[in-house]
Symmetry: C2
Subunit: 193 residues, 2 copies
């Protein structure tokens, strides 16, 4: 069992509707020890790839993404959910991301200046469930004709469709924690092969 | 001249309306070298204070805040601009923050679980202009009856009212770069004493 799995069992709270609250250490309050362990897991898996840039989506993906970027010594880029007044239309890649939790669809944008076809981009996010955020980032990387180096996720709800969708797209996905079920208020992890 | 000042002169773009775009290294694409220099400046200034927690506001404050939190080995907390469906009303501190750039007022929330009266909280943000975001965070820390250890800012537009407002509230403010003017497309820093 890895460090993040232990913390989920200790401090995660399961709520009705398959909600796993980890806001004491991952996505509201953030424990830097968790971040360091997460970065170390990502380095173990992706460390030998060609990675020129890390991309994530605001807001809770930013912490693991910048900590990993600092370790790999590459820039980090975060996609923005609103339209900054200083970014003009033809200067950016756009995609749409639906959040099932909040039931809103957001336009997500990245300045064209910061990804080009020479880039090999690692996508990082805190959670994977329906795969909307990750597939939106994949779309942006592909619009830029850059390569997707892989997708690194802190916590995956493996019983939701995101995992399969990313695999079906032929993308290398590594999730540090894979949750098989949250039934009866209990966290069960996918058994490791 | 410190590292961040040099990068502003090299890579910052001044646009009409006193806009300084630093999205190539600070608040869209983020250069981890800039973050490490920023953290080192904050440690030099605040390193000997009692700091039990770092607070920022989503999204671009998260990168410097988590990097500093990792160095100080304290948790980082980011205030959220929307209402997450999993956070109930009586569990949170709320305040309102107006963005002059986007001309919107957002409700900003922090779970009550993560600040208490024993905390000494350092407020971190990427930009200070009108002071709305910082004063919102001060309000939240004070609602929790915790102590404000100080305010650390990457770039301050010293010709706007935020600086004076924070000083008038008796709060110790340290801004790594203080911009006196953006007139005629030229960045001028406040002269150091």
């Amino acid at each position: 069992m890895n460090y993040l799995e232990k913390r989920i069992l200790e401090d995660g709270i399961v709520e009705p509707g398959n909600v796993l609250k980890v806001d004491s250490f991952l996505n509201h309050q953030i424990d830097p020890i968790v971040m360091e362990e997460v970065v170390s897991e990502f380095i173990d898996y992706f460390g030998d790839r060609r990675i020129t840039k890390i991309i994530t989506i605001e807001a809770s993906g930013i912490a693991p993404a910048i900590m990993l970027a600092a370790k790999l010594k590459v820039p980090m880029l975060f996609a923005k959910k609103t339209e900054p007044s200083t970014l003009k239309n033809d200067d950016r890649y756009e995609t749409f991301v639906h959040s099932y939790t909040k039931d809103v669809t957001s336009k997500v944008i990245v300045s064209k200046k910061y990804i080009d076809k020479e880039d090999s981009v690692l996508i990082i996010d805190d959670f994977l469930a329906n795969g909307q955020a990750v597939m939106g980032l994949v779309d942006i990387v592909q619009q830029a004709k850059a390569e997707v180096a892989g997708v690194g996720i802190c916590i995956e709800k493996s019983f939701q469709p995101g995992h399969q969708q990313i695999k079906d797209a032929g993308i290398d996905l590594y999730s540090i924690c894979r949750i098989e079920s949250l039934k009866n208020g209990k966290v069960t992890f996918v058994e490791k092969e």
